[in-house]
Amino acid sequence: MNNTLDFGVVLHGQYGAMLLSGIALTLQLALGSWLLAMALAVLLVLLRLANQRVTTAVVAVYVSYHRNVPTLIQLMIWYFAIPTLLPASIQLWLNNFNSEFIFSLIALGLCQAAYFSEDIRSGLRAIPDGQTEASRALGMGYIRSMQLVILPQSIRNALPALINHTVLLFKNTSLAMVIGVAELTYATREIENYTFRTFEVYLLSSAAYLACSLLLMGVGAILAQRYQRALAR
């Protein structure tokens, strides 16, 4: 191994392109599974708010499974196990069609939806009942009292946890390398295998991950501050 750091080899030509496409795929995976997770989380919270015994149990089981089984195992279940339950024609179709990416997106999204729904729910629960009652007494409908009184406060409560779990989701995208999605960690390993520039390439990709995570945390801090100020007014 060379003792001097030389980023040139890793940054230019085909390896630079591999690194860039890895970053692009990581960001796509993170964004896609975030959207899926958020949509599902809202659905789960609504089911929970319906306050029926069956829906509450379903949501509880969903959340409990996704929080107590490692994400890597969930990913393997989606990639190795679920396709075998599908009909052969669909399996064939999936194999032609970049199935690693789709399955990792689904697995990460479903897993994080459990965390997001708990964050939103505890944000809602922290609002005293008096708030709802007061806004209803002022003549607001359910939707309006939610929109004007309850949600703005609960978003402020839930924001720090949501940001933390968004960062977690972003970091979890690296798990997709295990099933062969060519995202940043996978690309890093490939480049290391070809060039033996271990430190250079790992430094670069770690820095990329760190920059994105810190950016998310920073945006989260700014948002939290703005909500705080909006409420103080």
């Binding site: 107590n68 089984v69 195992i73 295990v178 430190f199 790992y202």
Partner: protein
């Protein structure tokens, strides 16, 4: 469903201890040993980092903050590969996967434990520390005798939750061929080839049982602490002394 039980029947020893008497310890035993050792070593490191973070010495707290932010900002897989390359370079000889993963987990989880410790210390009313200093205790003595005993007790539920995280994180040992439960699952899966659903269901269930019981324990301990705080004998005695009519 029948697959499920026949696979357990044929492979339970592999799931439980790997190839232990004839090879390295594996399976659930390896997962648990790895996680517990990681917790054991990460707690002192995290404790020092957390104390450094709230310390009045500025450079120490900057160092601890940087440590925490860097490790919270990069994925665990990256840390696994870093230790995989760095530990042999530092020691000058090769180490096995188990040790590598143990080092990774200690380094990575120390950042999260440091945050728990910081939150625990900051949640304690500052009067405790101030009173200790006013009694003439030094900074370290006040921490050792007054702040930490109370803060550590309050942190207990978060620490148990962190152990659950460590157990879940130890699955990444699979990437560098540590023979823990995930590795055993893939071994069995590769032998059978046609029953992935049953194999992974067994593994998911094993993890679920371990992690769920620990989560339950954490919430149980949390409730107990909350109850104790509500009607602790010492607080009650102090209140009674204050309210008692003067003779």
């Amino acid at each position: 469903m029948l697959d499920f039980f026949s696979i357990i029947q044929q492979n339970w020893l592999l799931f439980l201890v790997g190839q232990y008497p004839n090879g390295p310890l594996g399976g659930i035993a390896c997962t648990l040993l790895l996680s517990l050792l990681a917790m054991l070593f990460a707690i002192p490191v995290g404790l020092l980092l957390g104390m450094a973070r709230v310390s009045p010495w500025r450079w120490l707290s900057y160092f601890a903050a940087a440590w925490v932010y860097v490790l919270r900002g990069i994925p665990l897989v990256m840390v696994v590969f870093w230790t995989y390359f760095c530990v042999p370079l530092l020691l000058g000889r090769n180490v096995d996967g188990f040790t590598t993963m143990l080092c990774t987990l200690v380094v990575y989880e120390s950042a999260y434990i440091a945050e728990i410790v910081r939150a625990g210390i900051q949640a304690l009313p500052s009067g405790q520390y101030e009173a200790a200093r006013a009694m003439g205790m030094s900074y370290l003595k006040a921490f050792r005798l007054i702040v930490l005993p109370q803060a550590l007790y309050n942190m207990l539920p978060s620490m148990i939750s962190q152990l659950v995280s460590i157990i879940k994180d130890s699955t990444l040992g699979y990437v560098i061929n540590v023979q823990e439960l995930t590795f055993a699952a893939n071994q069995v899966n590769n032998q059978l080839l046609t029953k992935p659903f049953a194999v992974f269901a067994i593994v998911a269930l094993s993890y679920y049982i371990i992690c769920f019981s620990l989560t339950w324990l954490a919430s149980h301990v949390e409730q107990r602490i909350a109850r104790k705080r509500l009607n602790s004998p010492s607080a009650g005695a102090a209140k009674a002394a204050l309210l008692a009519p003067k003779p």
